[in-house]
Amino acid sequence: MTVTDQDLVRHLSEAAVSIELQTPEMTLNIGPQHPSTHGVLRLVAQVDGERTHNVQPVIGYMHRGYEKLAEVRNYAQITTLINRIDWVSGYANEVPFIVATEKLMQLEVPERAQYIRLILTEMARISSHLVFMASYPLELGAATPLFFALRDRERVLDLLESVTGGRFHPNFNRIGGVKPNAGAGSTQRKVSQDLPKTFLGETKAAMDKVLESADEIEDLVAGNEIILARTKGIGVIPSDVAASFGLSGPNLRASGVNFDLRKVSDYLPYSKFEFNVPVGENGDCWDRWYLRLLEIRESARIIQQAVDSIPSGPLQAKVPKIFKVPKGEVYVRAENPKGEMGYYIVSDGGLGPYRVKIRSASFSNISILPWLLEGAIIPDIIAVMGSLDFVLGDVDR
């Protein structure tokens, strides 16, 4: 299998020039300051009229050196760092790291804590996909879905804030479970160790609203002919190319690969709930957009089922404040909203890890851009980049 085959039909647009004028090409920098690059991404493109080729992404404007920083911190302190990798879905970044550490310590996490982790991860997924629903039509020119999606996202963020204290960087996981007393200091440990009383009821009500808003967004955006014309057939990624580049999450599933880490891996108790995994057919921008809309609905249903069946119990296993993690190496990966996020931890038995390798989804997702954008015209570059749904913090770590 080679991927240099340029005959693959990736773009339907043909801005063919009938008079072949020899014109020199122009080097255009799209970014790093640009309304549509989701952060400080820079694309250096050779532009001839509207058609571009040799699009090279230049990244690293947000590189914060997390892997190096993790070597001087202990495990609980690293959690504060890794929230900030994919800041749109804050809670979901912590989960694979904590699960990996617990695997090394061979801890058993109480079921209630696992359910809470699952609920919050799915909320993070809804939040991240709603941001995508908001920003993608904006890049295509439609300004109105932005407000509707962000308004509905406020409901989820309010719930997240009520239980974790933070909208974007919850820092709610602890080794062995979740933070025992949400929102108060540990002086009240004897009084109440659990979630706010109204949280579960409010969550269920909010999920009904989220389902309604998903319907509203579908009405507003999905039937719009202009959006269909701008996204169908644009940026087609075949499934073998997607897998070999390391595309994951909705990007991979849109290309027709039915692979969801929630179904095959047991980092959280997803097997207890019924949910579908939407899979696309063509791998174009439309599929990637529509898939995320369907995933919002599936996440809302998972949360409703989880809220109904959440068991009671402690929120954290008994773990001392300062602890050392035994020697070993482990890799745990999770289905984050952007794709597959994983942490490879090399532990030497100390307070902190010897090496942490962070596998972030958006890094691999945008490594396909040079291949995908070859010969694209500028409006299509924006449409395709937006549909990959990446965040620069996730790319640059």
Binding site: L107, Q114, S186, T187, F259, V264
Partner: protein, 210 residues
């Protein structure tokens, strides 16, 4: 180095026994190791296959073609040193080397295998994987600039994250963190309890719960 499929489950769901789950992974790892003259181990549900550097590309080509591991997850390295400029020293002496890791997975059952090879500590060089998995392109660029590993045959081995003119390889253990040179981080010392909480303070236990 043994396979350990019967470890205690950390948070496995009720109906799936870890023994069952680890076993296909262990089988796959052993099969791969057998075919490429390497060694396999499965610890903490993570399968690792060690191969020789000369057979690196061959092993991963076989992974893609014969064992169905089509999904390229990541590629990175671990710098094993006995003297470190940052963080804690290793508790036991190791052979100093770079351990190159590449993780690939299948797309049906989610069996992920990490291929590992050891590179020379003074002049780490290895063949590039971009012809086998195009996704390795950026991962190799990152490993090259962070560890100083030279990938032969890589089409575009330029800096990825670091600005041009940056000297040094940051993720090497010999590369210091400037802020740690200035002063040690107060966050690394033992945590004190909140005021008025002395009786509730957990003893600073040295060993983790097992």
């Amino acid at each position: 180095m043994t396979t350990s499929p019967s470890e205690a489950p950390a948070e496995a769901p009720a109906e799936e026994d870890t023994t069952e789950a680890a076993s296909p992974l262990a089988d796959l790892a052993n099969e791969i190791a057998g075919s490429i003259a390497g060694t396999a181990e499965v610890n903490f549900e993570t399968a690792k296959v060690r191969v020789d550097p000369d057979r690196w590309v061959e092993a991963l080509t076989a992974a893609r073609d014969e064992h169905g591991l089509l999904f390229f997850s990541w590629l990175s390295a671990v710098d094993w040193r006995n003297e470190v400029a940052v963080g804690d020293k290793l508790t036991s002496e190791v052979e100093e080397r770079y351990e190159l890791l590449a993780a690939v997975s299948d797309l049906t059952e989610g069996r992920l295998v990490i291929y590992s090879t050891n590179l020379d500590r003074d002049k780490p060089t290895i063949a590039s994987l971009t012809a086998v998995y195009p996704g390795a392109n950026w991962h190799e660029r990152e490993a090259a600039e962070m560890f100083g590993i030279d990938f032969l045959g890589h089409p575009q081995l330029e800096k990825l994250y670091l600005p041009e003119g940056f000297l040094g390889n940051p993720l090497r253990k010999s590369f210091p963190l400037l802020s740690r040179e200035v002063k040690p981080w107060p966050g690394m010392v033992d945590v004190e309890g909140m005021p008025g909480q002395a009786d509730e303070e957990e003893p600073a236990a040295e060993d983790a719960e097992a």
